[in-house]
């Protein structure tokens, strides 16, 4: 049996990235096709079969109200993965814009970074609680609570990468051939910034999934009857002794989702590293390794 190391490749991709990518694709596909693939209606109650363990009819058993756990978990992909994907896309875009602009236009740098620092200081959970206190629990406050403290870390990282790119010769060279500012931002800085952003984004998505689940666990996020992993986990707690499958399977879904995002993030980071560090090794040995 081959030892799986960082170098092991499976169909051209590193193993971790390959596995993570497939998991992600499966999850997203399952979430999108939930109405078609889930075995039962997630809110339909089969009261006579409450708290039954996994069996051929109910693949992951039923919960306290006789609802099919498997279907609820599949439908639960939608809020968790859906919200985390969309919020991540939003904060990544905002953070990238702020970071690149403050790196490129030094006049804006100071004020933009101070604003970023302010937002950085927001503790996410506290903000969530405040939002919920003001707006009431639900998806709207959840999104605000996730988005507002989410973008500063992108801005910081993007700014530092963009600054280092700005100093490199090829930016000057592009200016020398007559490249305008927007061109330089798109063609020189954006490609450099892309890899770290993707890494933070994928790992960040995992974090958001946990956030959403935590708030759901506390009853403050997505509200019932919408199935959500955190709420399902919470609902299964009183029955851990007799019907552990509820909480355990919810927890397992959370774990697998976060794992898949992290694997993809790590894999992307390594691939980005390899692409841009290979030349360093070649320089050292002064040989063209084709």
């Amino acid at each position: 049996m081959r030892r799986i190391t960082a170098r092991t490749r499976f169909l051209g991709l590193p193993t971790g990235l390959f596995a993570g990518l497939w998991l992600m694709i499966l999850l997203v596909a399952a979430g999108v096709t939930a109405p078609w693939i889930s075995p039962h209606d997630p809110v339909e109650q089969h009261l006579e079969k409450r708290l039954s363990p996994p069996c051929p009819e109910f693949l992951l058993g039923t919960d306290a109200l006789g609802r099919c756990v498997a279907s609820r978990l599949i439908y639960g992909i939608r809020p968790s993965v859906g919200i985390s994907l969309s919020v991540t896309a939003l904060v990544a875009a905002v953070g990238m814009a702020v970071g690149m602009l403050s790196a490129y236009y030094r006049a804006l740098d100071n004020i933009m970074m101070r604003v970023t620092d302010c937002f950085f200081a927001f503790p996410a959970i506290v903000l969530a609680l405040v939002m919920i206190a003001i707006l009431g629990p639900g998806i709207k406050s959840l999104v605000i609570a996730l988005a507002v403290p989410g973008w500063p870390k992108y801005a910081r990282v993007v700014r530092s990468v963009a600054l280092s790119v700005k100093e490199r010769g090829f930016v000057e060279a592009t200016r020398a051939i007559g490249g305008r500012n927007t061109y330089i931002l798109c063609r020189c800085m954006l490609p450099a910034v892309w890899a770290p952003v993707m890494t933070i984004a994928t790992v960040g998505m995992g974090g958001k999934v946990i956030h959403i689940a935590s708030l759901g666990f506390l009853g403050l996020g997505v509200q019932p009857p919408t199935p959500e992993w955190g709420t399902i986990l919470n609902q299964g707690l009183p029955f851990l002794g007799i019907a552990p499958h509820i909480s355990l399977s919810a927890g397992a879904f959370i774990m697998i989702t976060v794992l898949s995002f992290t694997l993809v993030g790590e894999g992307l980071r390594e691939a980005a590293d390899a692409k841009h560090n290979a030349p360093a090794m070649e320089q050292l040995l002064k040989v063209q390794i084709p």
């Binding site: 490199r168 010769g169 090829f170 000057e172 060279a173 592009t174 200016r175 020398a176 051939i177 007559g178 490249g179 305008r180 061109y183 063609r187 020189c188 490609p191 450099a192 841009h276 290979a278 030349p279 070649e282 063209q288």
Partner: protein, 318 residues
């Protein structure tokens, strides 16, 4: 070289200062009062050690840096007075960077890199195979390199891509900043042969910045030697190379082992490794290290003395 009425490039009293430091403002004069002219089809070499200001001078000429004082006239037009027109004029003057800078965008393949200068200026579509063929032939590169990224090319190949990019805009002036530094001798020879051929075929003028005497000997029609931001010697290359006047120039040539093997006596002690602090003396910048320095050298900046036809030296003693 028959002198044309208007030189292609005319630089008068060009200076560029950098200020740094939080409390004690330190002002570094990277380039200090430099003047020269360059005609069509000519190569002017700027020689000097690192820190002499030659790189800054190159960037001032193509306007990647703004001068603190002085004027640059290109094709008769004062670059400071142009605003929107600068972009148009920019096409006529290009710069080739030293390879180590990584002047090629590492995220673009060679094909796009070659087409970029023209497409950025709205001149070509991105799939101009004729242009690609012409450029590849000009610099002797094979088509299989088109799909490669810059880090997959050798140093010599990267330099040639740089030259092709510069040439694709049909410039009249090219500033070549240490184009052959740290490349192998035979690749250096190839690059310089290529540059000479381009000059012969297209009448391009070069501002050739280098610290390598061998390269300068092969490329230059006229030569300027820089020390700490100022010219110390300027004129016809052949004349200066065979009969250098300024003590700095002489020690520079000696250090380059110009005469294979034989050391030129007396200049051993000149090369004090200089401190990074750029202390400005009132007089000649070289007086701190010069074996011939007298009292006048420390007090008064030397003016340009005519040593011979088209050969000026800034020195009190010579």
């Amino acid at each position: 070289m028959s002198p044309e009425l208007t030189p292609l490039l005319s630089v008068k009293n060009l200076s560029r200062h950098f200020t740094s430091g939080l409390f004690r403002k330190v002002r570094v004069k990277a380039v200090d009062g430099v003047s020269f002219t360059l005609h069509k089809g000519e190569t002017l070499a700027i020689m000097g050690a690192s820190g002499s200001g030659k790189t800054t001078l190159g960037r001032l000429v193509v306007r990647l840096l703004e001068p603190t004082t002085g004027q640059v006239h290109f094709k008769g037009k004062d670059l400071a007075k142009l605003n929107g027109d600068l972009r148009g004029l920019r096409r006529s003057m290009q710069i080739i960077f030293q390879d180590a800078d990584g002047s090629l965008n590492p995220y673009m393949r060679v094909k796009r890199l070659l087409l970029e200068p023209r497409s950025v200026n709205g001149l070509n579509t991105l799939d101009d195979t004729d242009l690609l063929e012409e450029l590849l032939n000009m610099v002797n590169l094979t088509p299989d390199l088109l799909t490669r990224y810059p880090h997959e090319l050798s140093g010599g190949q990267r330099q040639r891509v740089g030259i092709a990019r510069a040439m694709s805009l049909n410039p009249e002036l090219i500033v070549a900043d240490e184009p052959a530094a740290s490349l192998d001798p035979s690749i250096q020879a190839q690059l310089m042969a290529l540059m000479r051929r381009i000059q012969k075929d297209r009448g391009v003028s070069y501002l050739f910045i280098s610290h390598d005497l061998r390269a300068v000997r092969m490329m230059a029609h006229r030569l300027a030697v820089m020390y700490r931001g100022r010219f110390v010697e300027y004129g016809n290359a052949h004349r200066i190379l065979s009969n250098p006047g300024h003590p700095y120039t002489r020690s520079l040539f000696a250090a380059s082992r110009f005469r294979h093997g034989t050391e030129v006596a007396g200049f051993e002690k000149l090369w004090i490794e200089e401190e990074k602090s750029r202390h400005h003396s009132a007089g000649c910048m070289f007086s701190q290290c010069c074996p011939y320095a007298g009292i006048i050298c420390r007090d008064a900046t030397p003016g340009g003395k005519r040593m011979a036809e088209d050969h000026r030296v800034w020195c009190h003693v010579v």
